[in-house]
Structure formats: structure tokens, C-alpha cells
């Protein structure tokens, strides 16, 4: 991404093919690249600070998320195969320059949509993050249910997750089962696009293992489900932010390194051109003097 941006700013010529660029051109280019290097370096610092904060708050959030999923795993709730209405929540953010974060989530979602539509099911998607909307609205516009903006600027809170869940529940789309697609944080240099299942009220209520859970009436179960939905969204948001910040850190680091390389090469060319100009002037003076 960085290489493409710089090509749009500068003359799109590579070193060997260039016709005798003047010293002025090279100086201008050198100054621009040095500025860009400063910018990418500072972006890397900012991303590193945000990343360490996000990672620290991820630890309890992770335990919280796995605690929420524990019920569904222990009761082995599985959605019946013949249900038709699906929901996919894609979690990403608004800002770019973070590597393959948005495109990997979009790719996973497109694959799921294709698989489910091929099986004749109805799919709707919720985009958390403007970048996802940009990637998906042209080809899968009719599947989009909700778009969320202003994601990624500040660290995500439980309030954000509950706003998303409220919008989803208010939208009136009665999904039978769904999944949330997000980038799970593995380490500073790696993340993985993961998918966690979401179950609707009916699926949970009619699952066979629920019978062993005593004293549950519909109201309690609905409250519980809504709370669990918010928890899962919160978990996805937290993991996604951490992955995004670490990916941005890596991307900006690579960009700074590339910029340093370009600066070295250009400085070389600059010096060589400078010496060539001096030599040319000397030759002119000497041949002029020799002609007299």
C-alpha cells in the first residue's frame, strides 16, 4: 500500500530508466521521502502505544469471552442444519494502513456468504467498521443489514458492544444462527481471522441439553442471551483492536524501513549526479580554454 501511494505522489519512473534527472528533481524527491519516513515512524510509535494498552485490557476480556462461550460449549448447543436465516457480524475498523486486517475479514465473510447462498440460505451481514462497508457494499450490498462507523478511534468499551447488539436486536431480523468474524490476536506479529458462533434464542431454548438446566423461564433466558450477545461482540471488538494495532505497527515499521532504503539509494544517485554535473562543467571549461 505504501509503495503504491508513493508512486502516485512522485514521477513513476524507476532508477535505471530515468533520463538524466536534474539535481533539483532528486532533491525534491529526497525531501519528500524523508518527510514520509518521519510520518511513518511516528505512526509506528502511536500504534505501539495503543497496542500495549489494548493488549493489557485484552487479558481480562479474553477470560470474560471464553467464560461466556463456556455455556454454549458445555451444553454442546449446535444449530440445526435446516435453519435458513443466517447472520454474519464482521468486526474491523475505520482506518487503513494496517496490512491485511480488513481484507482478511472481508474475504472470510465473502466465502461464508457464497457458501450459505449456495446452500439456499438467507444471509445478512453487520459491518462493524467503515472499511468493511467499502469492501463489501459493491458486490454484497443487498446482504448488508447494519453499518457501524467511528470504530477504531478510541478503545472499544462495553457500551459500544451493547449499542451494536441493541441495533441488531431492534432491526427485527430474526436470525436462527450466526457467526462473528474477527481477527484473533495471537502475537505481536501474527493474528488469525477467526469465527465464533452465535445462537438465537430459539436454538438455545430448544437444544436438548438445556433440559438439565433448572428453573429457566423465557424471560431469564432472553436476558441471558442478550447479555451473552453483547459479551461476544465485546470480545470480538477487543481482539480485533489489538490485532489491528499490532498489524499497523508492523506495517508502519516496514514502511519506514522501505523509506530508509529509498533514501539511501537516492542519496547515492544524488551524489553521483552531482559529481557528473561538476565533471561536465570542468570539461566545458577545459575544452573552452583549449579552443583558445
Amino acid at each position: 500500500m505504501f509503495a503504491r501511494t508513493s508512486a502516485a505522489v512522485f514521477l513513476p519512473q524507476c532508477g535505471q530508466v530515468r533520463n538524466m534527472a536534474t539535481l533539483k528533481d532528486i532533491t525534491i524527491r529526497l525531501k519528500s521521502i524523508k518527510n514520509i519516513q518521519k510520518i511513518t515512524k511516528s505512526m509506528k510509535m502511536v500504534a505501539a502505544a495503543k497496542y500495549s494498552r489494548a493488549e493489557r485490557s485484552l487479558k481480562p476480556a479474553r477470560v470474560y469471552g471464553t467464560g461466556t462461550m463456556a455455556l454454549y460449549e458445555k451444553a454442546e448447543i449446535k444449530a440445526p442444519e435446516d435453519k435458513n436465516k443466517h447472520l454474519i457480524i464482521g468486526v474491523s475498523s475505520d482506518r487503513g494502513l494496517c496490512g491485511a486486517i480488513h481484507s482478511s475479514v472481508a474475504k472470510a465473510m465473502k466465502r461464508e456468504i457464497a457458501k450459505l447462498s449456495g446452500a439456499g440460505k438467507e444471509v445478512m451481514i453487520v459491518n462493524v467498521g467503515d472499511k468493511l462497508r467499502g469492501l463489501l457494499y459493491r458486490t454484497h450490498g443487498k446482504h448488508i443489514l447494519i453499518n457501524c462507523k467511528e470504530v477504531g478511534r478510541k478503545p472499544p468499551t462495553f457500551m459500544d458492544a451493547s449499542v451494536i447488539a441493541t441495533e441488531l436486536l431492534d432491526s427485527g431480523y430474526e436470525f436462527d444462527q450466526g457467526s462473528i468474524v474477527f481477527n484473533r490476536f495471537r502475537s505481536v506479529i501474527s493474528y488469525k481471522t477467526d469465527e465464533k458462533p452465535l445462537f438465537s434464542l430459539d436454538t438455545v431454548a430448544s437444544s436438548e441439553n438445556m433440559g438439565i438446566y433448572d428453573d429457566i423461564d423465557a424471560d431469564v433466558l432472553r436476558n441471558y442471551q442478550e447479555f451473552a450477545l453483547v459479551n461476544i461482540i465485546y470480545f470480538g471488538l477487543k481482539e480485533s483492536t489489538t490485532s489491528e494495532q499490532s498489524a499497523r505497527m508492523t506495517a508502519m515499521d516496514n514502511a519506514s524501513k522501505n523509506a530508509s532504503e529509498m533514501i539511501d539509494k537516492l542519496t547515492m544517485t544524488f551524489n553521483r549526479t552531482r559529481q557528473a554535473v561538476i565533471t561536465k562543467e570542468l570539461i566545458e571549461i577545459i575544452s573552452g580554454a583549449a579552443a583558445l
Binding site: 477470560v63 467464560g67 438446566y213 429457566i216
Partner: protein, 144 residues
């Protein structure tokens, strides 16, 4: 963790997790008993409790450890799950140890909320104030 072939095993402990959004208080800890306040009433969870799901309401959670000591936490809301293998997950939106709450501040908040209740007609805002009253009442009751 025993498989489903042993329905009536004698459990000595619950494997307990008390998690709130910002902190993990207990994680897979072995405890004797947990008292929780739920929407349908307060009840105590002992090992081999019947599996259940409940929604919490603002109140005090008391954890009785193996050695007999107990610690109290105030939770705002959340859910509690008791599974068949005697593991208990208490997911609270906010949970604080009881001694970090200030009785005077809670009383002041309660009075303020009660006086606000009279002046609000909007349904949603009314619900918000009612929740605030309930939470503050619970704090005051717990601290006294």
C-alpha cells in the same frame, strides 16, 4: 471433569470464575459456596448444585473459600451459569470488592436519584433513574 456417565458424583468444590469486564477476580478457583443475588431472588450455590442460568441484579456476591473465610463483592449486573460439572461462571458487568465502596457517597447518590425520579416523565430516562435507585439501595443495604 467427569463425563456424562457419572451423574451423581460427590463434588467437593465448585470451580468458580468471577469475571468482570476490567478484572478477573477468580478463575477456576476451588470454592465451597457462592451466594448470588438474582432477578428471581438470592440463592447460594454449593457443589453439585442443579445446573441453571440466572441473570444477576445489583447486590452482593459472597464467596466462601475452602478455608472458611469469605469475601464479598458488589456486582452491578450480569449473568451466572452453573454447569453440570459443577463449574460456575459469574460474568458481571462491573464488580468491586465491598470495602472499596463508600457508604456516604452511596447514600448521597440514592437521595439524588430518588429526587430526580419525581421530575422525569420520559420512559427511557425513568428506567435509567429506577436502575440507579435500585443499585444505590443495594449498595447502601450491603454496607450497613
Amino acid at each position: 471433569m467427569l463425563s456424562n456417565g457419572h451423574p451423581h458424583a460427590a463434588w467437593a468444590h465448585c470451580s468458580f470464575g468471577l469475571l468482570c469486564l476490567l478484572q478477573v477476580f477468580f478463575k477456576e478457583a476451588n470454592v465451597k459456596q457462592i451466594d448470588v443475588p438474582t432477578l428471581t431472588g438470592a440463592f447460594g450455590i454449593l457443589p453439585a448444585h442443579v445446573p441453571t442460568l440466572q441473570v444477576l441484579r445489583p447486590g452482593v456476591v459472597t464467596v466462601f473459600n475452602d478455608d472458611g473465610s469469605s469475601t464479598k463483592y458488589f456486582v452491578s449486573s450480569g449473568s451466572v451459569t452453573v454447569n453440570a460439572d459443577s463449574s460456575v461462571q459469574l460474568l458481571a458487568e462491573e464488580a468491586v470488592p465491598l470495602d472499596s465502596l463508600d457508604l456516604a457517597a452511596a447514600k448521597a447518590n440514592l437521595e439524588k436519584a430518588q429526587s430526580e425520579l419525581g421530575g422525569i416523565s420520559d420512559e427511557a430516562a425513568r428506567a435509567g433513574v429506577l436502575i440507579s435507585i435500585e443499585a444505590n439501595e443495594a449498595i447502601v443495604k450491603a454496607l450497613e
